[in-house]
Symmetry: C2
Subunit: 253 residues, 2 copies
């Protein structure tokens, strides 16, 4: 139990390359993706835990209090699993890239990051890449916010921003920054052309957007058109609009 | 102070038709919309509070602890305002309707509801309407999640769902339900035609989506196309995709 509880801390997740899936939906998704190494369950007749047991996965019966101690949520719904972090490299997701990826540059709110992963999976993005300063991809809140889609799209990070930008440009992957300051609409002809081939959407932090340094390095800066009395969108809402614009060009609906 | 603190409760907000704006961004938006009746501030030299004072609004200096007591957030950033709820009727927003509205049918998560209001304001929607079972439009979490856009778009609710659906159909406003079960894509020709005139997007609850009873009453049920291994989108992400599809048809970008 204490080994599982250690995974509430980012440092331990990184060292052990493991994370916790809380609740039936997340555990079920982790089992389907073959990531589970151990399940903790309150009820020995729990169906998911039995399935895990039949698959040769270690199953431990714990008390409700024991389960809560290894959870961030108040109500873990009876089951928690220790899972392997599915490792993917930048090389793997970018070589070759036929569609699009999203790069979260310092998206620090875990709910937003998890929601972006969920949308990226739905939109058919190749990967979600985070840079330093983004929320930990495998924290409880991020995993919960993906609503079981954490294994439905490749995710990798945190990576150094320059490393990511260099990897993209060296492969001739077009970089499009979604930012408020541009005259270029994400729905216009220029972006239609820029996103016709392999491309990456860059999204900035909730508080500060993308830095001037980042904006100077991307191929195009584009804006989601907004009513005059509104300054910005939530970053996960912006991601939904950008990624679905790409999906319409790259995936048969 | 206790009069302000009472507004932390939904019942009192309804009776007094007032709500609390926490922090400079929300207070500033409320001042601009002429909704503020009183400000509470920690620092007597606070610029916003001075502006309010010059505008004839009652200003009270309170301690940090006093301010915290009337807030939901841990850090209210020095200022809280008691504001009038901007009343709009269904009649006002629908007669006549030239663009589009969004109807939140039991969207119970306040963060999602606030984010939908923010997106609706940005997309140029005429209004956000909530039905019974949705989060309270004027709770602290909803107001915070709008990031100062609570007065940038008309909002009204909670209203009885049948009342809303009847009001829409009696005015020949096309109703489009966003739901997972349809063969009709929100990006297809049928929805392009359905949303060419005045229309309403209906979005369901996070846990259950829209009920069969609702789906039977709308003009069209449409689906946001998704990758095969993903079941659903976050409701605020879905709203962003639907409302921006409408914006592209109704607003010059």
């Amino acid at each position: 139990v204490s080994g599982a509880r250690d995974l509430l801390q980012s440092k331990n997740r990184r060292i052990r390359q493991q994370f916790l899936a809380e609740g039936p939906q997340a555990v079920s998704a982790a089992l389907a993706a073959d990531l589970v190494s151990q399940v903790f369950v309150v009820d020995e007749f729990d169906e998911l835990a039995q399935a895990a047991h039949r698959a040769g996965i270690r199953r431990s019966i714990v008390t409700e209090a024991g389960l809560k101690a290894m959870c961030e949520t108040v109500s873990p719904q009876g089951i928690v699993a220790v899972c392997q972090i599915p490792e993917v490299s930048l090389e793997e997701v970018l070589t070759p890239l036929t569609g699009f990826v999203v790069v979260c540059v310092g998206v620090s709110d875990p709910g937003n990051l998890g929601t972006i992963i969920r949308t990226a999976a739905a939109a058919g993005a190749r990967a979600v890449i985070t840079t330093t300063g983004s929320a930990d991809l495998w924290s409880g809140k991020v995993v919960r916010s993906t609503v079981g889609t954490f294994a439905a799209v490749a995710v990798t990070g945190p990576l150094d921003e320059d490393t990511v930008l260099t990897a993209l440009s060296s492969r001739s992957i077009t970089t499009v920054a979604a930012a408020g300051q541009s005259e270029v609409s994400i729905f216009g002809a220029e972006i239609a052309a820029a996103t016709a081939g392999p491309h990456a959407w860059l999204l900035g932090s909730e508080a500060h957007g993308l830095s001037d340094q980042t904006l100077n390095q991307v191929d195009v800066v584009a804006t989601i058109p907004m009513a005059a009395n509104v300054e910005s969108l939530n970053v996960a809402s912006a991601a939904a609009i950008c990624l679905y614009a790409s999906r319409l060009r790259h995936v048969v609906a």
